[in-house]
């Protein structure tokens, strides 16, 4: 970067040149010297308390902690002088005085920072013979995923800091002081927190430990594979580990991914669906209304027969945005060139015109947008995103990277969220009225610079409107809109984080496009980062699994139908064959009743997945697919970061990877179809898609590789008919229902994880504290939620800061499917809530 100053200093006699302000620790590491650390942790505030990282600086009498001391020009630093070595040994002797030293029964044994450090730098024998402080006799359980032993604590405070500085929960603290201080929850009570296990990951010793991993293995018993989290499109890099064929742990390590040690509860604890007994193991053909196990040959034969006989226009394909790039690419190839059908999509939740317009407005075909770069902007504007629940690690990154300049974050959403506390301003707009807010902001900017902004595409749409009027429509105070516009005006660079609420509510996309265009015209450096909720959603779009564009956002010969259209046709009886991979349409399509009716008339329905989902049950043929842990391939996260994954296990029973199945179907109909070698498929992708040209993501790339620009803009999808939801007064159904993913869940996949289910058993509804007070309910109370057609009982979660009219139901619960409350074409459902008093 320009204007940065560099200084040169000597470390152990070796000259190094580093940026001004660099810590001695980092400078020494850069020079190739190792300095042990406890309290230091990348991304956390520096405390300099453990005193293990001492270095000697020529001319200074005292040793200095290198983790909080910045370099100065011409410093002469020694990391290995006799004084330093003696001090290190002394600190380790101190740390061990009250440490339990019960390594043989400690889960951390073998991968413990204290063990390793003492082994390397410590005294061989301590002189402490007094009675050790013991905080408790037995380990205690802090949460369904955390077990604690304070007797091993080295008091580095990483747990406490990570919880408040990164996760944003601040549920950990310190009880007592001096050697009796204990890092734990408030009076050691059971935690009601995000259960992300960040405290476990950063704890250098065996204090915070994983409950599900307890006594399961030593790390040398484990076989590991590098992969990518299967849940949201933050796309956290992780390593999964198995023992005797059972996956026991997923970890995120410093230096192995852009996310460092960060993962959320889903990523860190949601791995155990892989071990589920309910995994599908053989192809199942429905004969006379019951499923019968059949061979692959038989299954493929039936498919060939049904799909070749079908009218191509009446063949539909949907593939989940959790598959690998290779699988998605091959899937679209299968549908387009073998089934000869233009009808394919990667999600049943969103309208294809809306997604194309969103992709275009967010500039996704243009290039990748790295999150860390985006965070350097003067203003980070988060809109249409339930970021704290849907993209937790993105939420962490926003929190800690902007902490020093917290003034930069502005949030617009209908629901309160955890990240609000890290923002300068949080704007609450009415559900489905983000567009009016964005337009009002655009208009406010236009009024400031009418000449400069004249002619900006889309500007005519807001002329003649007033900020007041638009503000009223969106339910936002004019003063808030003015301040938002003011901050944007005053920022030289702006990053917009645009989430999937744009697609859920099918509106605001035009506003996003207009605001983006305005900011660009005003000379702002603009980045738009889409926040997506399925791990490979961007990959699916990149690969052209979309009815309106092909691989690399190229044009298609014939535009096809999205899921909306497919279901409509199916409902009319105009569907011959339907091939679905991993997308549980029945539980996700926003009008459950309609989806059920349509799919029952869908002609021959082939459903491929890991589990017998609701859609699987109404299919004609079920194919057992594989999980991410059984696949080699690549994933492209929301930023456009392409990351490679390797398999840890082989598919269960006779199940096959989705790539193998797609390839086999293709070959059975069209001999010579691409084989199931992921590397070869990726070569084809690399050769055919500009975005992937020259991209070779390796397993050891800690940052993955960013996609390139496609050269396409999808400009033709600029115009989109946005949904206008009726928010009129309705006394029978006074509340607006918002849906999305719960913090502990992602679609229905995560419901197969026993551990995640353990974090949240029953369906919940989040309501505002105002409504809770009015109804006289609290966390855990039961309420009856009634829509026009259906109702269900939910457990209440109270949220401060959400407007009274807004309620949220996660779309993840099979017992109370959120999509039951919706009617086709309606993006904001209305519900009524009453206290449930059945007992």
């Amino acid at each position: 970067m320009n204007g940065e100053k560099f200084v040169t200093l000597k470390v152990n006699g070796k000259e190094v040149t580093v940026k001004e302000g660099t810590l001695i620790l980092d400078a020494a590491r850069e020079a190739g010297y190792e300095i042990p650390t406890f309290c230091y942790q990348e991304n956390l505030s520096g405390v300099g308390s453990c005193r293990i990282c001492f270095v000697e600086i020529e001319g200074q009498k005292k040793l200095q902690p290198s983790c909080i001391t910045p370099v100065m020009a011409d410093m002469n630093v020694r990391t290995d002088s006799a004084q330093v070595i003696a001090a290190r040994g002394a600190m380790l002797e101190f740390v061990l005085t009250n440490h339990a030293l019960d390594c043989p029964v400690c889960d951390k044994g073998g991968e413990c920072e204290l063990q390793n450090m003492v082994w390397k730098f410590g005294p061989r024998k301590g002189r402490f013979t007094e009675k050790k402080i013991r905080f408790h006799e037995k380990d205690y359980i802090l949460s369904p995923v955390i077990v604690k032993n304070s007797n091993r604590c080295v008091h580095c405070m990483r747990c406490v800091r990570v919880c408040s500085e990164v996760v944003g929960k601040a549920v950990l603290g310190v009880i007592g002081r001096e050697a009796h201080q204990e890092m734990t929850s408030f009076v050691r009570s059971y935690l009601d927190c995000d259960h992300d296990g960040m405290c476990i990951e950063v704890c250098p010793v065996g204090c915070f430990m994983r409950l599900p991993y307890r006594y399961k293995a030593r790390h040398w018993d484990l076989k590991s594979a590098k992969t990518v989290c299967p849940y949201c499109a933050t796309g956290c890099r992780m390593t999964i580990q198995e023992r005797d064929g059972v996956v026991v742990r997923s970890i995120a390590r410093l230096g192995s991914g852009f996310n460092g040690r960060m993962m959320c509860a889903r990523g860190r604890f949601g791995y155990d669906f892989l071990n589920s007994k309910e995994r599908l193991k053989t192809p199942l053909l429905k004969v006379g209304g019951v499923f019968k196990e059949v061979s692959w040959d038989k299954a493929l034969g039936v498919i060939r027969e049904k799909f070749t006989r079908a009218d191509p226009k009446k063949v539909f394909g949907v593939a989940s945005a959790r598959l690998t790039n290779e699988e998605l690419y091959l899937f679209q190839k299968l549908v387009r060139s073998v089934f000869n059908s233009p009808n394919l999509d990667s999600t049943s939740r969103w309208n294809e015109n809306a997604s194309a317009a969103f992709i275009s407005a967010a500039g996704i075909p243009g290039r990748g947008t790295g999150i860390y770069g985006a965070m350097e902007a003067d203003c980070v504007f988060i809109a249409g995103a339930q970021i704290s629940d849907e993209n937790p690690v993105t939420d962490y990154i926003v929190r800690y990277t902007t902490a020093a300049k917290r003034n930069s974050v502005i949030i617009a959403s209908s629901r309160a969220m955890k990240l609000d506390s890290s923002s300068r301003m949080s704007i609450r707009h009415l559900p489905g009225r983000l567009g009016s807010l964005l337009n009002a902001t655009a208009l406010s900017l236009y009024m400031d610079y009418p000449e400069r902004l004249e002619g900006t595409p889309g500007i005519d749409g807001i002329k003649g409107k007033t900020v007041e009027g638009l503000g009223q429509v969106s339910g936002v105070e004019v003063s808030d809109i003015k301040s938002l516009a003011g901050v944007l005006r005053g920022s030289a660079s702006v990053s917009i984080l645009a989430g999937v609420d744009f697609l859920r509510f099918r509106e605001g996309i035009l506003g996003l496009r207009l605001l983006g265009a305005i900011l660009k015209t005003l000379g702002k450096q603009l980045e738009i980062l889409p926040l997506l909720d399925r791990s490979n959603q961007r990959g699916a779009w990149d690969m052209g699994v979309h009815p309106l564009f092909g691989p690399g956002y190229g044009e298609v010969k014939e535009k096809g139908l999205g899921v909306d259209g497919m279901l409509e046709r199916a409902n009319e009886g105009a569907s011959d064959a339907f091939y679905i991979i991993g997308e549980d349409i029945l539980s996700m399509y926003p009008d459950r009743a309609f989806a059920a009716r349509a799919l029952s008339r869908a002609g021959f329905l082939v459903y491929q997945d890991m589990f017998m989902t609701e859609t699987a049950q109404i299919s004609d043929l079920v194919l057992p697919g594989a999980s991410f842990a059984e696949k080699a391939g690549t994933f492209t996260n929301q930023e456009g970061r392409v990351q490679a994954a390797e398999p840890l296990l082989s598919p269960k029973g006779e199940a096959k990877t989705d790539l193998e199945i797609i390839s086999a179907i293709g070959s059975s109909i069209a001999p010579g179809f691409t084989g199931a070698d992921p590397q070869r498929v990726f070569e084809e992708i690399r050769g055919g898609l500009k975005t992937y040209e020259g991209i070779f993501p390796g397993l050891n790339d800690s940052n993955g590789v960013m996609v390139k620009g496609s050269g396409n803009t999808l400009k033709e999808f600029e115009e989109v008919k946005e949904a206008v939801s009726d928010l009129g007064k309705n006394t029978s159904y006074p509340y607006y229902l918002i849906t999305g993913n719960h913090l502990f869940h992602s679609g229905r996949l995560s419901r197969r994880s026993e551990i995640l289910r353990g974090l949240l058993m029953e369906p919940v509804i989040e309501i505002s504290s105002i409504l809770a007070d009015e109804l006289g309910v609290e966390d855990g109370s039961r309420v009856m939620v009634n829509g026009r057609e259906s109702g269900a009982v939910f457990s209440v979660r109270v949220k401060k800061g959400t407007p009274k009219e807004v309620v949220f139901i996660p779309e993840n619960f099979e017992k109370a499917p959120a999509n039951r409350f919706f009617k086709r074409g309606e993006t904001v459902a209305r519900v009524n809530i009453t206290v449930h008093s059945s007992f």
């Binding site: 520096g46 040793l63 600190m91 008091h155």
Partner: protein
């Protein structure tokens, strides 16, 4: 010598505003408001006043570090007075609270603070009450609040009560505590003058330091610097406790010899016994023995002989005192008050206490004294804040002069000083 700080000690009702004004109080504020900020800072510099909180840092210099252009700025008065053997700030607060307030108003004016905090030791319930009353009186008279005395200077003073942690007397831990966090020292730099309360420039001064200010304004820096030692001028409060005939709080010129304080002012050793050791400046200060008693009680002279003036808490111990027990009790204080932040202090003071306790209870083992010295060496110079070093200094002071007594305890499992058994009389 005319009393400056303890003028109202024996004046019933002297703590009220009326009495204070009758004695010429708040004249200094009026004078100060006529002067420029820099002028006042220069006067304080010229007076040679050094901080009475322990470190003896030149007060005027400290004020001059405050950047002009940053807004807002704060003043914090350190009234945590936790050092064992110290009760001087309490004397001022309880008997002459307006003296402190006047000093704070002038200091705030000089550095441009918009509000000032008095962080008072939690146990000083009576002192806090006195301050609240005094502040109320001052507001009523327009001496605090908006546009005081018709000037364009406004200042509010708040009293913040501590919760019983010695470490909160350390200036940055004090700031953390006021902000509502756990009382633990912050890393320095940045120093409070740049990044203090709520991240804004802040001056932290001791009660006694601030109480010297009004007289400097009224009588001029020359008058002040003519008192006491050359490099440590002014009046000083000495708190004498222990085995003396007249324990109490004495205001004397800085640099008064320790012998004079113990024998003349405090009336000598109780019961005509012999003096064994004196702690000159709160328990952190290494103890002195008879032959060192002629030392002038000021910052530099004490530093020269390896001790320190610290808080001016003089603790006198006669020849019946068991030094192992004294060292144990002092060390136990430090290990109990260790904030827990840094490894050497947290674990080291705990370790030392355990060993001292064993020796005191007749369970010493050969090598224990060497072990103590080893632990001291491993702590010293490596702690995050001076508390840990202080614990070492105190123990080293005892070991330097009374190593034999420790060895005797270890070897004979009993006390040489009392002829009895070690454990007798240790309070728990």
């Amino acid at each position: 010598m005319e009393k400056i700080l303890l003028k109202n000690l024996n004046n019933p009702g002297g703590h009220t505003l009326d009495n204070y004004i009758a004695g010429g109080g708040y004249r200094a504020v009026k004078e100060a408001l006529k002067l420029g900020h820099d002028h006042i800072i220069q006067m304080v510099k010229d007076s040679g006043l050094r901080g009475r909180g322990g470190a003896g840092f030149p007060t005027g210099l400290k004020w001059s570090f405050i950047p002009k252009e940053v807004y807002p700025k704060y003043l914090c008065c350190n009234a945590d007075e936790g050092e064992p053997g110290t009760f001087k700030d309490r004397g001022i607060i309880e008997y002459d609270p307006h003296l402190l307030l006047e000093g704070m108003i002038i200091a705030s004016y000089a550095i441009g603070a918009i509000s000032a905090y008095i962080y008072i030791r939690g146990e000083f319930a009576f002192g806090a009450k006195r301050l609240w009353e005094a502040i109320k009186e001052a507001y009523e008279k327009g001496l605090l609040g908006k546009n005081i005395l018709g000037s364009d200077f406004s200042i509010d003073i708040y009293v913040h009560r501590g919760f019983g942690a010695y470490i909160c007397g350390e200036e940055t831990a004090l700031l953390e505590s006021i902000e509502g966090f756990r009382g633990q020292p912050r890393k320095k730099p940045p120093f409070p003058a740049v990044w203090g309360l709520y991240g804004k420039p802040t001056v932290i001064n001791n009660v006694e330091t601030l109480s010297c200010i009004p007289s400097i304004i009224l009588n001029g820096p020359k008058w002040f610097s003519s008192m006491g030692s050359e490099k440590s001028p002014g009046p000083k409060l000495y708190c004498v406790s222990g085995h003396v005939n007249r324990p109490g709080l004495y205001e004397l010129p800085m640099g008064t010899p320790l012998r004079e304080i113990v024998y003349n002012h405090a009336g000598g050793i109780k019961g005509g016994r012999n003096l064994k050791a004196v702690i000159p400046g709160g328990v952190t200060a290494p103890m002195l023995i008879e032959k060192e008693l002629d030392v002038p009680m000021d910052f530099d002279s004490l530093a020269k002989i390896g001790s320190m003036l610290g808080s001016g808490g003089v603790v006198v111990m006669d020849d019946t005192t068991c030094m192992v027990k004294a060292a144990y009790i002092i060390n136990r204080f430090f290990s109990h008050e260790s904030c827990g932040k840094c490894t050497p202090c947290r674990e080291g003071t705990h370790w030392m206490t355990e060993v001292l306790k064993r020796i005191e209870y007749g369970e010493g083992k050969p090598g224990d004294v060497e072990l103590l010295e080893g632990v001291c060496a491993n702590i010293f110079g490596r702690t995050f804040c001076p508390l840990g070093d202080g614990a070492v200094m105190a123990l080293r002071g005892a070991l330097k002069n009374f190593r034999d007594e420790f060895a005797y305890h270890v070897e004979n499992k009993r006390c040489a000083a009392r002829g009895g058994f070690g454990a007798i009389g240790v309070w728990e």
